[in-house]
Structures are given as structure tokens and as C-alpha cells.
Amino acid sequence: MVKGNQGGGKNMSEKLVDAMTNMREIEALEIAKALVNGDEDPIKILDDCTKAMETVGKRFEAGEYFLPELMMAGEILRQISEMVKPKLKGELTSKKRGKVLIGTVEGDIHDIGKDIVSFLLDVDGFEVRNIGIDVPPGKFVEEIKDFKPQVVGLSGLLTLAYDSMKKTVQAIEEAGLRNSVKIMIGGGQMSERVKEFVGADAFGKDAMEGVTLAKKWIGIK
């Protein structure tokens, strides 16, 4: 059991980053609880979590960590965010990094990639609207008008999805919304060529790349 703020804030802060980075969930939550109870600045706690998430992301990129570690770290972050929330002022709790609309295009019902990206974007502070699978182009247009996202993610695993993605981008263009959103595509078989064919702005090889793209477009380092 970790008690109060013993060991000094800096030390505890390092311990939190270390526990989270190394998937020691219970320890990370106990430290976070102690920090919250010890009146540590909530923003500082979240910054430490972000640091830990960045290290986890780097280890994933390097092939040292895999999806379960990425998602576990996200889960820890989510729980700590819940703990910290009451200590944050109203304007901070509601402040999101940006809006991302995401869905699997018409004709495809695969959801794993889309759900992982949604999850990671959510824990990274984005407001995510996940509109499900087999989404027709018109539905994307409606949702963009309603939700006003900066980023739209089109997901699809099948080669059949290429045509559907292209139609979706065309529908967004025809609705006069193309300049208001950045469009990324992701799924099993995406490549530069598919991106060009579809008319998207970028493609993500995996969930982390999806998050990196969204951050880059919204201007977050």
C-alpha cells in the first residue's frame, strides 16, 4: 500500500510513470490515489500518465510491447483520469484535444482496428464518435455535419472497402465538407496506393499511427 505523499512528489511521480510503463496496474493506481489524496496537482498527475503512455507507445513502435500492453496502459490511464477528474476544474475536465469521427465503411463489418484506434484516441483525450460498422457514405456526411470533427477515420479490412472508402470521400467532397476535415484510412491492406485511390490524406498502419496522425493534424506534439 502506498501511503500519502511520502517520498516526495517527484519520487512518487517517477514511481507512477515506472509502474504504469511496466504494466503494474495495482501499484500505479495506488500511487495515483495517494497523489490525489496528497493534493498533488491533478494536471501533473495526468502529465506523468502521458509520459508513461509515450514510453509505452515508443516500446510498441520498437516491437518490445504489443497491443495488450498498449491497451493495458490505456486502461490504467482511464482509471487514473477518473480518479483525478473531481480535482480538476470544470473547464479542464470538459476540454478535449479534438474531435475524431470514426467508422467502418459500407460493405465491411470488421471492427477490431477501428475499436482499438477509438479506444486509444479516447484515452489520449480526444472526443471520439464511433459510428460503427457498414456505414454508408451518406451517414458519414450526416455525422460530420452534426459532430463537426477535425479528423475522420475510415476503417475497412476487405479489398472491397477501397471502393467504399473512395465513395465516402467523394460524398464528403460533394457535401462541401472535405476542406473542414482530415481523412485517414486504416485496416488490413492499406498502402500509399490505396490512400491515393481513395483520396484520403493519410493511412495508418496500425492503431498507434492513427493516434499519431490525429495528434499531428490537430497540432498536438
Binding site: 504494466m23 496496474e25 516491437g63 504489443f66 497491443l67 495488450p68 500492453e69 491497451m71 493495458m72 486502461e75 463489418i109 470488421h110 471492427d111 477490431i112 482496428g113 475499436d115 482499438i116 479506444f119 479490412l157 476487405l158 479489398t159 472491397l160 477501397y162 471502393d163 488490413g188 491492406q189 492499406m190 498502402s191 496506393r193 490505396v194 485511390f197 498502419k205 496500425d206
Partner: protein, 300 residues
């Protein structure tokens, strides 16, 4: 066994062949419909004949069902038995592995989210699925199938879903025992996974698999794989998803296809196959054209 069956066996044994054998793991309902065929055994045999393929591969399950995600049909043991009686073509059964079955039942997202916390629970459920898969393999071997393909999607585009150490720890007993069983039944044992399984290849080789089926070049670099493991592994591959796009075949895609065929052919152990299955779309003429190109390159 037919000439085409002998050719496939020769390919597995890395002996010289008269032409490059070809086959697919999955032929989708929509593709059969486009060929004016029904998605049943007769339809599959007719399509294989039309495309000039050498392998009849039946995705196998306890019950007839449709994979809604990709749009292909599962056959049952009775149909497999019928296939083994009515055709002398090289017959292979494709069986979803325990991990694949669990991912279908529980959802991959749920498995991955709970992986670190509930590994013990997962291992128990895996064992249950494994028992069912073991029975299916046994029944296939009783029907004298020529090959059993175990399909476990273990990887995403970048890397395996989970740590290769976990795969070794949890899946090693199933894979090694299944492969031994298949070999005792005088069949070939193949493995399929989508995604980038490069990190897992040494493990898969150590489990005794004879080859890798429907494996992606873009993520796995088949030419390097051939250099490293070509003498011990047969590769069913070569047709990447990009070249099957509905657009006209691109020059760069075609060049890469030709490079692949040229690189994978020497030394045998190569069967032309798409990396993803043929489910829907206007693939028929495209596939025939790709086979024609491969034949020309083979003849040199």
C-alpha cells in the same frame, strides 16, 4: 491422384514441377455467384476447374455456416468426406485454430484488452477450444486429406498481436501436437495468419509446419523468407491484395508480382495463392491473367 495433385505434392517436397501449382484457401460466396455457381462443393469444384487450380481447400467447421465478415462458407465433415470420395484433386482442410475460434467468440478486442489481467482465464478457454480443434483434425486425417491448414490470425499489419513469448508459452503445446498428428496421418501441416508474422516464423518452423499459407508479402517480405526458410517451408502466396483491386492492374503491382514469382519459384516449395482469399469482386479474369503471367515466367 491426379496430375495436379502430384504437382502439389512435388511442390511440398521441393522437387521440380512441370508448372507452378496454384490454389486458394478461401473462395467467397459472392465470387462463386459471379461465376454463376452456388457456394457448395459442386460449385467449388467447378470454379477450381475453371480457374485451373490444383487444390480444393475447404474451410471446415462442425456445422455448415457462413463467415459473415468475409463472406465465405464453412463446410462440415460430411461434405469433406464427400469431397474426398468425389475428387482426386489435392484436398486440404482449413481449420480455424483455438485462438481464432476464441477471437470469433469473445471478440479480439476483448481478448487483447484482458490479455494482461486474465491470461489464466484465457488459457482455460483456449484449452476447451483446442479440444474441439484436435477432434476436427483427427476426423480430417481419417478422411485422408492431403493437407491440414491451421488458421490462427496472430498478427496485425505491424507485428504479432501479443508477445511472441506468450505465444510460445500458451500455444506451443497445441501447435506441436497438431503438427505431429497431421504428419502421422501422412498429411502436410500448413499454417495461416494474416498480418506481419515475421517475428513468429522461427517458432512456426520449430513447431514443424511444412509451410505457410496465404501469407502477405507486403508485411512479411516473402523474398527474404524464401532465402531464409525456403528449403524447409512451402509458401502458398504471391498474389497480393493490391493487385486484385478493382482498378486495372498497375504497372508497379505487376512488376512486383513478376519479381515475386521469379524469386519464389527456384528450388520448389511454392504454390501460387492470394494472400487474402478471393471473396468478392471481379477477380476471375484477373486471377486467370495472373496465372498466365506466372506460367510464362515459369517457362522462362
Amino acid at each position: 491422384m491426379s496430375n495436379s495433385g502430384e504437382i502439389v505434392k512435388k511442390a511440398f517436397e521441393h522437387r521440380s514441377v512441370g508448372y507452378l501449382p496454384r490454389g486458394e484457401l478461401w473462395l467467397g460466396t459472392d465470387l462463386l455467384r459471379k461465376a454463376n455457381l452456388e457456394d457448395n462443393l459442386k460449385g467449388h469444384l467447378a470454379l477450381i476447374k475453371r480457374l485451373g487450380q490444383d487444390i480444393l481447400c475447404l474451410p471446415l467447421s462442425n456445422d455448415i455456416s457462413i463467415n459473415k465478415g468475409l463472406g465465405y462458407r464453412y463446410f462440415n465433415l460430411k461434405e469433406l468426406e464427400e469431397a474426398s470420395r468425389m475428387s482426386d484433386i489435392f484436398l486440404s482442410a482449413l481449420i480455424d485454430g483455438p485462438f481464432q475460434r476464441l477471437a470469433e467468440k469473445r471478440g479480439l478486442m476483448k481478448i487483447l484488452t484482458g490479455w494482461k489481467r486474465e491470461k489464466h482465464e484465457f488459457a482455460k478457454e483456449y484449452k476447451k477450444e483446442r479440444a474441439e480443434v484436435d477432434i476436427l483434425i483427427k476426423r480430417c486425417l481419417e478422411l485422408s486429406v492431403d493437407a491440414v491448414i491451421i488458421a490462427d490470425d496472430l498478427a496485425g499489419e505491424r507485428s504479432p498481436f501479443v508477445d511472441p513469448y506468450d505465444i510460445q508459452d500458451l500455444f506451443f503445446p497445441f501447435y506441436t501436437q497438431a503438427v505431429s498428428e497431421i504428419h502421422r496421418g501422412h498429411s502436410y501441416a500448413m499454417f495461416h495468419s494474416c498480418g506481419n508474422i515475421t517475428m513468429l516464423i522461427p517458432q512456426l518452423v520449430s513447431y514443424g509446419f511444412d509451410g505457410l499459407a496465404a501469407i502477405q508479402h507486403r508485411t512479411n517480405d516473402l523474398i527474404s523468407l524464401k532465402e531464409k526458410y525456403g528449403s524447409s517451408l512451402t509458401l502458398m502466396a504471391g498474389i497480393e491484395a493490391e493487385i486484385l483491386e478493382t482498378e486495372k492492374m498497375s504497372l508497379s503491382g505487376l512488376k512486383e508480382y513478376e519479381r515475386l514469382i521469379r524469386s519464389l519459384t527456384p528450388g520448389g516449395g511454392f504454390i501460387i495463392c492470394s494472400c487474402s482469399g478471393l471473396y468478392s469482386g471481379d477477380f476471375l479474369e484477373r486471377v486467370q491473367e495472373l496465372y498466365r503471367i506466372a506460367d510464362e515466367l515459369f517457362r522462362g
